[in-house]
């Protein structure tokens, strides 16, 4: 059971959020190639370690929150708004 620091609401329980997947992919420009859109829709890394993810605060402010989380230890390094540039720690957890 994670505790996630929502930039708008403060630290809240995981139960208020809905996981929405990889936040490292960016939607291509409308005139981009089919391949670019295909990669955007389907191609994902599956990292063991630090990852940047979307957690939608559906039971709170309904903002999409960016979360830097370790997929192995489940530690959370930092959180931010959709357009914040978030850094990942160099090494593993703690």
């Amino acid at each position: 059971m994670h505790q996630i620091d929502c930039p708008w609401c403060g630290t809240r329980d995981e139960a208020e959020f809905q996981y929405q997947g990889d936040a490292t992919v960016t939607r291509p420009k409308p005139d981009a190639s089919e391949k670019a859109f295909f990669d955007y829709v389907y191609i994902r890394d599956n990292p063991k370690g630090w990852h940047t993810e979307w957690w939608h605060h559906v039971g709170g402010c309904r903002q999409w929150v960016k979360v830097v989380r370790n997929t192995f230890t489940h530690d959370i390094h930092t959180t931010g708004g959709p357009h914040d540039k978030l850094s990942k720690p160099r090494k593993g957890a703690r």
């Binding site: 059971m1 939607r27 409308p30 859109f37 955007y40 829709v41 939608h56 999409w64 230890t73 957890a93």
Partner: protein, 992 residues
């Protein structure tokens, strides 16, 4: 009633002034308050408590606690019957009813114990080897056999009459386990003012302290425990939770614990749950779970009367019940000498202490001095007896015989394993410690520390010191201001001594490693020979360490035997990872109040009571309850649906459409925003107009549809399907917050702010005019087809949309939620003489199928706009979500299944959703399937069953005769493929 012949005359922590009666397998016994079922049975000289899982061998209790693998009983009767309950954990109460499991017809004479003779065939992996050929036997023969022999006890077949609760808590310091180390930790952490929670699985504090022989701070252990408990009770910042097992250690230091609130009474007190599940967040954790003693692996080591040395000690010390009158002890370490000394104190005959070690330890010398017979370098060879041990054959380390001793109980100690279960749940890898021959907790990955026996420090003095320090440090780490550490509780320092393991005492009989799953030393060796030599493979192939005890007593012995077979050391073989739950947890406790009618919230529309008054039958639509149909007296469902859909087309009907998702959208860029969400254009839609819209997912498939209206230049009102309301909102939030934050658009859900009715049929206009009177002019000129208007209805805002799902002239009227009943009533009153009837979702479904309108069944996440015949809606002048992927080759291929109408041509039978469309009855297998039926209805307008579906070639099949095949019911009916627009194909009726 028997006389408790094995009850000692004095001592123990039982309440002798409160005798209680209980029954086991129908026979009445008596015990005392404070007993467990196991201790009371032993006091009554009952050693046989169950039959084993695979071989149905007679079994007693191996332990006196939570790790018990074999003394599993069925508790209570009727709806409260609970299987696989550990007799060692069941607290005795008056009237307790328990019975043994896994035996027929009785515990003493069990038919399936013949399995022992078949042991040769029931070795490791026998399921995989035995039940393979022939394939035709899988279902009719093997499955029945496996189902019959699988599992242990029988679950209740009636609904559980008791309730289970979920609760939450937070603390600075969580102390797990209230043995000496845990008590010391809770005391020192509590003194700092930190919020402390101490959880203890047992109903008593003190763990494995020997109440009579151990001494702390100059007083007997029993007194020290009592004083410590009193001190903790005085601290407002400390909460002590007994009968509570911490079974899971999860992310972010969240712990799950199960409190057995009412398991120790026959029936929960009024308003009390049976059990309570706790979710506790702790800043710091002190793990003081203690250790688990290991059995010794020798032939027939599973016989009733053979149990762990610490268990014998607890039965005698705490429960004043001796498991035997002549007790032999087999050990490889000093701890068992404490058992010998206690038994001697109590005047119980210790026939021999066999010590693996060839050199006498200080403890061995002291025992000899006290007149106890000690044999060095001697190990057990084989237990003998029938239903209970009667003698023990001994051997030297080289396997040569050393005679035998008569005994009715054997206390065994193969060493102690720190309880690393919880810590290993945190991904911390346990580390092998050769000095204690066991795994100790590895480097912490969370804010936790292990103290005392669970860190491998078995000496009481060390446990008290570590606990005392650990509690203090944890409080400090949790951010508490702590003073100087006070002096720790003192006890005489007795070093734990050395240990020498013989993992498998020589022998060629059945020597059990995992008592619960009947895994023998030979099974493990066989698994290794057959290639299942990785520890995780061995576990799954032999079932070593599985089931309710999670291998607590078998883990290290199993690893050691596997390591020996592979010629490796134990740390080289490694250990399997322990997973939650630490102890078995009833499914009811996980469910808590989320069962039956409180499983999830029920959403009712504003007009729910109106529907109830009309006798509606409700259907669940997600969490919503919607009227499915309104039967007249004597009418069945099919008749009601037929009548409702016919009547709407003839006169008029009213339908509650409040459950549709509704979203208010504002902003200068609202039109542009909709343009990017929907496949069709929105910027040119004039205020006061509604439009049908279709949106795709980013992968190009259809996501949702609905009508959206423009109420002002910068104000749209969107509707979504009932099922997708939440998903569409989240999708829009992603689009506006993540994809296009530059757009000036704001929106929020208004599903529960506006309630709505659809009034459809030739008389709908007249009825609404009569209902709303001068408030609004419903004339065609004022509200033409696809118009959206707002008007004032006696001070309340009403919205009217001239849209039609049924194909009839129809209006949807929305008012604020609180006015829903008033609106329903006023329309129904106006409709009384104009043939207005209420209709439900079924009739609505029939009418939309007659019109070929797609709905949820057609929007199944695998269809494109073109598949639905709506390809021409896709705008070529703009970009929208899903466009690039919808253009892919496979998404536009001509052979994709496309929407068609299906009509039953034969006089009898019916259509069914999910049926396959096939060309001939010669081949009814899936390779012959040309498509499927998605929606069906018995149509009054067409006079037979009709349906919508998807079929290769789509409308190219028009007029062809096909079969609808439904394998689940082995039904096939003849159908004709036709246009999905069955009724009023030119769409003239909705103009009125």
């Amino acid at each position: 009633m028997s006389n408790q012949q094995n009850r000692l005359a004095s001592g123990g922590a039982i309440n002798r002034s409160n005798p209680v009666n209980f029954s086991f397998d129908g026979k009445i016994y008596s015990g005392f308050e404070g007993d467990t079922l196991a201790s009371a049975l032993l006091a009554n000289n009952v050693a046989l408590m169950g039959r084993s899982f695979k071989y149905h061998r007679p079994r007693g209790c191996l332990t006196a606690g939570s790790e018990e693998p074999t003394a599993l009983v069925e508790m209570r009767t009727g709806a409260r019957r609970e299987p696989n309950t550990r007799a060692t954990m069941v607290e005795l109460y008056d009237g307790l009813e328990a019975s043994s499991q896994n035996r027929f017809p009785s515990l003493k004479y069990d038919v399936q114990s013949v399995n022992q003779l078949l042991g040769r065939f029931l070795t490791a992996g026998f399921y995989y080897k035995t039940f393979m050929w022939p394939a035709s036997f899988w279902e009719p023969v093997y499955e029945k056999f496996i189902r019959k022999s699988a599992g242990l006890g029988r679950a209740a077949t009636e609904a559980d009459p008791d309730s289970y609760e979920h609760s939450h808590d937070h603390c600075d310091v969580m102390v797990v386990g209230a043995g000496p180390a845990g008590l010391a930790a809770a005391l020192s952490a509590g003194k700092t003012g930190a919020r402390v929670i101490l959880v203890e699985e047992q109903p008593f504090l003190g763990g494995n302290l020997c109440l009579e022989r151990d001494e702390i701070d100059g007083m007997p252990a029993a007194e020290w425990v009592e004083q410590s408990a009193a001190k903790l009770a005085k601290m407002d910042n400390v909460k002590v939770m007994q009968r509570t097992v911490l079974f899971g250690y999860y992310d972010h230091n969240v712990m799950a614990a199960l409190e057995r609130v009412s398991d120790h009474v026959a029936v929960p007190a009024e308003h009390q749950p049976r059990q309570r599940m706790w979710t506790i967040r702790a800043k710091e954790v002190v793990v003081a779970c203690g250790s688990q003693e290991r059995p010794v692996v020798f032939d027939n080591n599973d016989m009733p009367g053979i149990m762990l040395s610490t268990a014998v000690r607890r039965y005698v010390d705490r429960f004043a019940a001796t498991p035997g009158k002549k007790i032999a002890i087999c050990t490889n370490n000093d701890d068992a000498y404490q058992t010998a000394a206690l038994l001697q104190d109590k005047g119980i005959d210790v026939v021999v202490v066999c010590d693996v070690r060839t050199k006498a330890s200080a403890a061995a010398k002291a025992a000899v001095k006290n007149g106890i017979k000690v044999e060095l370098g001697i190990i057990p060879a084989k237990a003998n007896g029938w239903h209970r041990v009667s003698s023990l054959s001994l051997q030297r380390l080289d396997g040569s015989s050393y005679g035998s001793v008569e005994c009715d109980c054997v206390a065994v100690s193969g060493g102690h394993s720190p309880d690393v279960h919880l810590v290993s749940q945190t991904l911390s890898l346990p580390v092998w410690n050769d000095a204690i021959q066991g795994f100790v907790p590895g480097k912490p990955t969370r804010p936790e520390r292990s103290v005392g026996a669970s860190s491998g420090s078995f000496a009481l003095a060390d446990g008290l010191l570590e606990g005392h320090r650990g509690g203090h440090e944890a409080a400090k780490a949790a951010g508490r201001k702590v003073g100087k550490l006070s002096a720790e509780p003192k006890t005489k320092r007795i070093p734990f001594g050395s240990i020498e393991s013989v993992w498998r005492c020589p022998g060629d009989g059945k020597a059990f490693v995992d008592f619960q799953n009947d895994v023998t030393a030979k099974d493990i060796q066989l698994a290794e020979q057959e290639g299942y030599s990785s520890v995780e493979h061995t576990k799954r192939y032999t079932t070593l360490g599985m089931a309710t005890d999670q291998g607590k007593t078998s883990n290290i012995n199993g690893l050691a035997i596997l390591a020996a077979a592979r010629g490796l050391s134990i740390p080289e073989v490694g250990t399997t990872r322990f997973r939650p739950p630490y102890s078995p947890v009833a499914i009811g406790a996980f469910a808590g109040h989320e069962r039956g009618m409180t499983f999830q919230p029920i959403r009712r529309t504003a007009m729910h009571r109106c529907h109830e008054k009309l006798g509606a039958v409700f259907v669940e639509a997600g969490q919503w309850l919607r009227p499915q149909y309104y039967p007249l007296p004597g009418e069945d469902i099919m008749e009601a649906i037929w009548r409702e859909s016919a009547q709407v087309r003839k006169t008029a009907g009213i339908c509650d459409v409040s459950t549709l998702g509704k979203i208010e959208i504002f902003g200068d860029d609202a039109g542009e925003f909709l343009n990017r969400l929907y496949i069709n254009g929105w910027k040119m839609l004039a205020p006061g107009k509604a439009r049908y819209g279709l949106m795709l997912r980013e992968d190009g498939y259809v996501f949702d549809d609905g009508t959206t209206s423009r109420l002002a230049d910068d104000h749209f009102f969107m509707t979504t399907t009932t099922a997708n309301a939440a998903r569409v909102l989240a999708h829009m939030e992603h689009a506006s917050q993540v994809l296009w934050p530059e757009l000036d658009v704001h929106f929020c859900s208004a599903t529960e702010q506006w309630c709505g009715v659809a009034v459809a049929g030739p008389n709908s206009r007249k009825i609404l005019q009569a209902a709303f009177g001068k408030s609004f002019d419903f004339a065609d000129e004022n509200v033409p087809f696809m118009a959206a208007r707002e008007f004032d209805w006696n001070g309340a805002t009403a919205r009217v949309f001239r849209i039609s799902f049924s194909g009839e002239m129809a209006f949807e009227v929305n008012v604020a939620w609180r006015h829903g009943e008033a609106m329903w009533d006023v329309i129904c009153k106006a409709g009384e003489k104009r043939g207005l009837i209420p209709y439900g979702t079924e009739a609505l479904g029939v009418m939309r199928i007659e019109k070929g309108h797609v709905a949820g069944n057609e929007l199944d996440g695998r269809t494109t706009a073109a598949d639905m015949g709506l390809g021409s809606m896709m705008s070529s002048k703009k970009h929208f979500i899903g466009l690039p992927m919808a253009r892919r080759e496979g998404m536009t291929a001509s052979d994709r299944p496309k929407l068609v109408g299906i009509k039953l041509t034969q006089k009898s039978g019916r259509l069914r959703g999910g049926a396959h469309i096939i060309e001939s009855l010669d081949n009814t297998f899936t390779d012959a399937s040309l498509g499927w039926i998605s929606s069906v209805g018995d149509s009054p307008a067409i006079g037979t069953w009709i349906g919508l579906g998807y079929m290769k070639g789509g409308m190219e099949n028009e007029g062809k005769k096909m079969y609808a095949h439904y394998p689940l019911r082995k039904e096939s009916v003849e159908v004709e493929i036709c246009s999905p627009h069955f009724f009023d194909p030119k769409g003239e009726r909705h103009h009125g």
